[in-house]
């Protein structure tokens, strides 16, 4: 018998949530066959079986939290590796689907099961099928739905906008109950924690004409080098330079130890929307990267976040965070600090607006900026200065060149 315990996956992770089991008692497992999906801080990891054998017992039920050292599963080892095992019920690359359904992974499921998955907001490709040839059965979908927040659909479809003109007929106040699980639970906990911080948000608008122009000129060159140049690398560059000027914005507050920790490195967190919530991958030593390298790193991390494949170091240790809600079309927002950081920058949508320039009304592309600070450590005046300096860098991005190391 092999008792498999939750391993120490590093970086201060003490517990993990058991998302779902990919094996069941009595099932033969091969060595290295994926057994279970665990959710650590913000990443989902698949744990392979350390041995070949038969599953004797599953100790940690799906949906529960397991601590490092807890026994997750008991496997009865077989002498030698068993003969051809069943295809692991994980999503594997398959040849293209049929007919006009186009290339992609074919998921075997009855039309009624597809409808059920659609109604529950489940991506069938994520559901392990227990039927013949890995066919997904109705209970597989229901089981999966009970383990995940129901709005999780890794490929979000453009939902038709709501709001028909007519009023809702009475008697239709349906309430569906869902367990708070997975990433959503994690976000809820973090936000509750963040809300302990006394927030102050200051706003400004940058004249983004030069920035827009610069990005437009550099984008084709970046593309030739295989990199899509967005505004984010500029935001990061400007933020890092400003953080160097205002070290208390790149700090944390240790209330228990009555200390202020001034971090002399610049790990920039980027808030990334993923299908079932929000992740904050981290660009380590952002000050050492040039714009192209930043752009490539942003793209790489955002993609990994969407696939939920970020490693622990890529998800922790940030010293300052930027959230670009403009990329989702929002003009303004009040960002919430990502503890233990003490400040966060929000960038809105660049939009042509009439502004007064030298007594004349001109149309300029304006970039809304919002900076939230931890008022325990920072004050409104400092926040305003920080934002003003950041604004100068974004309004005249050529300044960034002056400050190159």
């Amino acid at each position: 018998m092999v008792e498999f315990k939750l391993p120490d996956v590093g970086e201060g992770i003490h517990e993990a949530e058991v998302l779902q089991w990919l094996v069941s008692p009595g099932q033969t497992v091969a060595r290295d066959q994926p057994m279970v999906e665990l959710q650590t801080d913000k990443a989902v990891v698949e744990i392979p079986s350390p041995v070949a054998g038969v599953v004797a017992e599953i100790r940690a039920k799906a949906g529960t939290m397991a601590r490092v050292g807890d026994v997750l599963i008991v496997i009865r080892e077989t002498g030698q590796s068993p003969p051809a095992v069943e295809e692991p019920p994980t999503a594997q690359p398959r040849p293209p689907a049929l007919g006009i359904s186009g290339p992609g992974q074919r998921v075997l499921a009855a039309p009624a099961v597809r409808k059920l998955a659609l109604e529950l907001g489940i991506d069938l490709a994520q559901v392990p099928g227990s039927g013949p040839a890995g066919r997904v059965l109705p209970n597989d979908v229901r089981h999966f739905a009970n383990q995940k927040p129901a709005e999780s659909s890794p490929t979000p479809e453009p939902r038709p906008p709501a709001a028909p003109l007519r009023a809702m007929p009475p008697g239709q106040e349906v309430v569906d109950e869902e367990p708070l699980r997975g990433l959503r639970r994690r976000i809820a906990q973090r936000m509750e924690q963040a809300w302990q911080i006394p927030h102050v948000t200051v706003f400004d608008e940058a004249d983004a004409a030069h920035l827009v122009d610069m990005r437009r000129r550099l984008a084709p060159e970046a593309e030739r080098q295989g990199v899509k140049l967005t505004y984010m690398p500029f935001f990061i560059k400007a933020a890092v330079q400003t953080l160097k000027e205002f070290p208390y914005f790149n700090a944390s507050l240790d209330m228990a130890g009555q200390k202020i920790l001034l971090r002399r490195y610049y790990h920039l967190g980027l808030a990334v929307a993923v299908p079932d919530g929000l992740m904050v991958p981290v660009i380590r030593h952002a000050n050492r990267l040039n714009l192209l390298q930043l752009a490539a790193e942003v793209a790489r991390l955002a993609e990994l976040a969407r696939q939920r494949k970020l490693s622990q170091p890529e998800l922790s240790g940030s010293t300052f965070t930027i959230t670009n809600f403009g990329s989702f079309g929002a003009a303004q927002g009040t960002p919430i600090i990502n503890p233990p950081e003490v400040a966060i920058l929000g960038c809105g949508r660049i939009e042509d607006k009439p502004v007064a320039v030298a007594g004349q009304v001109q149309v300029r592309p304006m970039l809304p900026l919002a900076l939230s600070i931890d008022h325990r450590l920072l004050d409104g005046a400092a926040a305003a200065q920080f934002l003003t300096r950041l604004n100068q860098r974004l309004s005249d991005p050529a300044r960034l060149l002056l400050e190159l190391p």
Partner: protein, 451 residues
Amino acid sequence: MVVGDLATAVDVAVLGAGPGGYVAAIRAAQLGKEVVLIDPHPPGGTCLHQGCIPAKALLTAAGHAAALADMPAMGIAVGEPFIDLPRMQQWKNGLVTRLAGGVQQLLAHHRIEVITGRAWFTGPQELQVEGEHGINRFLFDRAVIAVGGSPAPLPGLPFDNQRVLTPAQALVLTHLPGHIAIFGADTVAAELATIFIKLGAAVTLALPADQPLLAQFAPSAVRLVQARLKKLGVTIKKDMPNLAALDAPIVVISAGITPNTGNLGLNAAGVQTDKVGFVRVTPQMQTTNPAIYAVGDVTGGPPLAGLAIKQGKVAALALANQPARFEPQAVPWVAWTDPQIAAVGFTPAQAQAAGYQGVSGRFPLGANGRALTLNAADGFALVVAEKESGVLLGVTIVGRQAEALIGEVALALEMGATLTDLAETIHPHPSVSESFMEAAEAALGIAVHIK
């Protein structure tokens, strides 16, 4: 209805009352929406009035006429048939009228307002209709574009309804031409050739350059149809360089469709099309204007009514904010030829091209008792499956009633069935459907009725 500038507010406006449009209208009404359905023609669309239904009626009649040639061998002495084409057309029109009446009743039952007229968008959520009572304006919450397509003319050879006919115009002829040339390689062309040769006309089937006949089907299936057409007397000309070479008094052209989006005001509505004019849609059938959906031929997919119907249902659900997605696993294609070809999923060659390691099994109808008693031994069933898992990838059936038989395997493919599922299912005996079971067994290496 108010004539003039006052606009009527509706939940859903459906433009086009073909199978995609009227089904979308009914499903939306079932979901509690107030719906108007707008079309210059009576509900039913091209399929019911000018296309599938009339063609199938004439195929049946012509098929009976041709089958008389086989009667003497069965001990039935018959004389030379006399084809009364006007009478045949009357019979066909009677069917169409009856079906159209049924659609009208369904629409009335769901309290859908049917407006006869031509509609065009004047804004993102506004349209006008020019009908028998003048011009009306509608403000809609959601709209569905289901205006379909029209036969594409060949360059320099416009349809004149005299010598150059659309397929629909050919289907209403009341005088059988001595010689008719059909230009095209699709199912429409093949079916028209079948109808007219069986009614007694001389038929030339001219295949456009580089277009083999019925290219979407397995070549072995098409060979049977081609052989039968030739045996019936059809002259098949391949790679027609130009139509001047066709000396027939009547030429029918079936060269695809163009979308009916020309005068629809799509710019005003913010609905984008591709270069040809087909409307771009998401898997929810949503266009670039989130309030407007599009279904059927106008979206540029294969021009199959079955697809339009499914898309209409998806659009209705989506516009009512219900989860829906157009993601067919299996699309059945049928050529109502002689013998019929019906196929779903991949042919063996297509499966291989898509990257599958396939295994296939074939069962000839000559070894099927029921096919012989139907006097229809021409044909076969062909299955292809993924080699390792046995999961079905596609099925083709050639033979009598292939159209009816394909439903079984379409369901099998949708369900993700395996060769074993098909082989283990009890099939009635004797029946042509047994050939699926036998073909699956052949793929598994255990067929009983073939060596």
